[in-house]
Amino acid sequence: MLGWELPPHNSGGLGVACYHLSKALALEGASIDFVVPYSAPHDNIDYMEIHNATTLSPLDRYGMGAYDSDFTVVTEPGSTVTDVKDIRGVQRHYTKYVERLVGRKEFDAIHAHDWLTMEAGIRAKQLTGAPLIVHVHATEFDRAGGNQGNPIVHEIEYQGLMVADRIIAVSDITKKIIVNKYGIPADKVEVMHNAIDPTSFDDGYTYDNRTYRYLEGLKEEGYTVVSAVTRFTIQKGLEYLVRAVAKASERYDRIALLLAGDGEQRNELIELASELGISDRIFFTGFVRGKQWRDAYNVSDIFVMSSVSEPFGLTALEAAHHDNALIITKQSGVSEVLNSIFTYDFWDIDRLADQIVGIATSDALKNSLKENVLNEYAQLSWNDVAAKCMTMYKSTHKARERVFA
């Protein structure tokens, strides 16, 4: 398994998905070697072997997230890798490591996640002949949020998708992009929606109503708290959310917006809010982890996923787990697996404002959305995803044996 991050050293949903998928696969009987591009202890993981492809610390890697292709690596003092200037350099070291790994150990399948590890996956397939499964959590089209994106990344994605024996897409939306934008035959792509492991939230956490004390105070005054827990990038469509909250506030004045996260768009959003005269209704937390992150979901009544393009959108399931009513753009993959939600087109500010006011002014609506989505998200299981993966591994392996027989 070729990945880029695992909790707690993850910058987003990719690491979470890899963690749970691997765990479920291990339960299905798979023996997994998981390669990450940094060195750090993963004491919480005992169901697979983790390989550290470089001596870089996750701190070196944080800026690189699983998402950005343009940044520079600032090497921590003490790192023995010194010739790494950017993500391409990390990928080079990563691929070399994978080459050595497949030289000394045999594998039945190579499972590579996103463009970050596709080159290493291609190399491993060339060296071993094992089938390559490319798992697409996001494409450069998603990350670019309507812009061109990085041509090098596009090219790597195209190569990986072409060379792959099978492709897993995390949603129908993503499958469409793979077929339409990269010209990959549809029957090579199987959709496997992400899931959520509710037991992963059972870590002794309890909500104490204190972290967001001011928001709790507002709720006592009848406010409805709308939240987004995300990176502040164009892809996430937060500008539309802020505008919708301004519109909704004109009609119903007890709405607060919690924007949990950080990113390049933050200053723009702050400025927009003040131009719209609603700074006072918006709470910027900065990047949140751990308890602050859990509490953000808990203080919230309505979770909005405003993405312009979202292959899946795991945070929506997390929000459902924490008792939120969900409003999700039609451009987000997670909307394909949930019914008890409101959906809107990412640009449709009026509709989003309507939905926010509708939920805020009707306890009956709010409560039924919350309760029903709780039942739905619980049906989504990583075990089902893992079972499908195992079937795919076996079928590609057999197909190959036949070819070489």
């Binding site: 105070g217 200053n267 702050i270 400025e271 700074s279 900065g286």
Partner: protein
């Protein structure tokens, strides 16, 4: 015929910067102004101690020396309440040195708002309370009465002058800005439009800013500025007129222009040269007014400040963040004052200091004039977020402790 005089007026101020006050502090921790990080630029004690060493101590020592050496050397100071409170805590010797200066009888204290606020533009009653508070503080520490007024950032208009006239001030200070003055010179005393007994002193911004802004600028064609050259300029400027009003931040000496630029030596040299001419002297602001009858009326209907090329309030109230922040702050006035909770009221007033709004200024993004602005924050957006969180916490205290006001502002 009275002597030709320089009216030197220095403005002494330090704000209480808001620490990195997050959503997670709001409604929990009511400490806004004490940054625990000893290295932070928001650590007011650190900043104060640094500026005390670089500017207040050496400059006061120099001023004391010049006052003793030259009978004719005089100056005026405005010292904000937020400065005095910090000096009392962290550098009482600096207070003592200012007291010695005032005790010479040749250093006049100018009145202003205690909190260096823009309250005049939001609440006339709050503004007057702060002028009173400042008068009281000056009386307590220096045992003198103030009689000439300057508003924060020299923000001035006709209605301010009319207020000061009715209040009983004999003088008021403003920027001598060309578009207002037209053919007139800032080197005379004027009478503000619509007033009876008050005189207006105008800053000679060319000669003032030569020191305040340009002195150490090596790209400036006149660099290095010598006392000899500056004396020539002063002589040229004052010809046929009675006054040169040099108004600037006190911190010009040692903080804005560091000691290694030669600013202290320059200043000592210049004072000596100026006074060596028997026709020349220095005036305090009151003496300048007493010695010179107004030559005419002057009107400034729109607000003029001493900042930027625009000389307006846009550095403080120009963008929507600044307007929102100040709007929310002043909206709390009645609820806050009603509590009679001294801590709460003081915190609310410390937040009125104009520097807070200045840190939210974004106009230098378009000017490209980044270096003209100083902020202890990473960005104006950070300054805004911290400040808004503090306003919310004030509301929380009103709500929790005093059961007045709602959290929704």
């Amino acid at each position: 015929m009275a002597k030709r005089g320089i009216t030197l007026y220095l403005h002494v101020h330090q704000p209480l910067r808001v620490r990195d006050y997050s959503v997670f502090d709001t409604a929990i921790d009511h400490n806004y102004f004490n940054d625990p990080d000893p290295l932070s630029d928001r650590n007011n004690e650190k900043v104060f101690r640094k500026v005390a060493d670089k500017s207040y101590r050496p400059m006061n020592a120099l001023l004391e020396k010049l006052l003793a050496e030259h009978d004719d050397f005089k100056l005026s100071l405005s010292i904000t309440g937020t400065f005095l409170e910090q000096a009392e805590k962290w550098a009482p010797d600096v207070i003592a040195s200012f007291q010695r200066l005032v005790a010479t009888g040749k250093v006049e204290i100018v009145a202003e708002t205690y909190y260096h606020s823009l309250a005049f533009f939001y609440s006339r009653t709050e503004f007057e309370r702060q002028v009173e508070a400042h008068k009281t503080k000056i009386r307590e520490l220096f045992n003198v009465e103030t009689s000439v007024f300057r508003n924060t950032e020299l923000a001035y208009n006709d209605s301010l002058a009319q207020w000061a006239d009715e209040y009983g001030f004999k003088g008021i200070l403003a920027e001598g800005w060309d578009p207002i003055l037209d053919w007139r010179s800032p080197n005379f005393v004027y009478q503000p439009e619509g007033t009876k007994n008050i005189s207006l002193l105008l800053k000679n911004y060319k000669l003032s800013d030569d020191l305040a802004f340009r002195f150490s600028n090596k790209a400036w064609s006149e660099w290095p500025l010598t006392a000899n050259k500056y004396t020539e300029w002063a002589n040229a400027s004052i010809e046929d007129s009675p006054l040169i009003n040099l108004f600037m931040d006190y911190e010009t000496f040692g903080e804005h222009q560091w000691q290694d630029t030669g600013i202290f030596d320059f200043f000592e040299d210049f004072v000596g040269r100026w006074i060596s001419n028997p026709d020349n002297t220095f005036y305090t602001v009151s003496e300048a007014i007493d010695a010179n009858k107004p030559v005419g009326e002057l009107s400034m209907p729109a607000t003029v400040t001493w900042a930027d090329a625009e000389r307006d309030l846009t550095a403080w109230l120009g963008n929507s963040m600044q307007q929102e922040a100040m709007g929310h702050l002043y909206a709390l006035e009645a609820d806050i004052l009603r509590t009679k909770d001294a801590d709460l009221i003081n915190d609310w007033r410390k937040l009125q200091t104009s520097d807070h709004a200045y840190y939210m200024c974004t106009k230098w993004f378009s000017d490209g004039d980044v270096h003209a602005y100083f902020s202890p924050y990473e960005s104006p957006y950070d300054a805004f977020l911290y400040y808004m969180n503090v306003i919310r916490d004030l509301r929380w205290r009103l709500h929790e402790t005093h059961r007045t006001g709602a959290l929704n502002g």
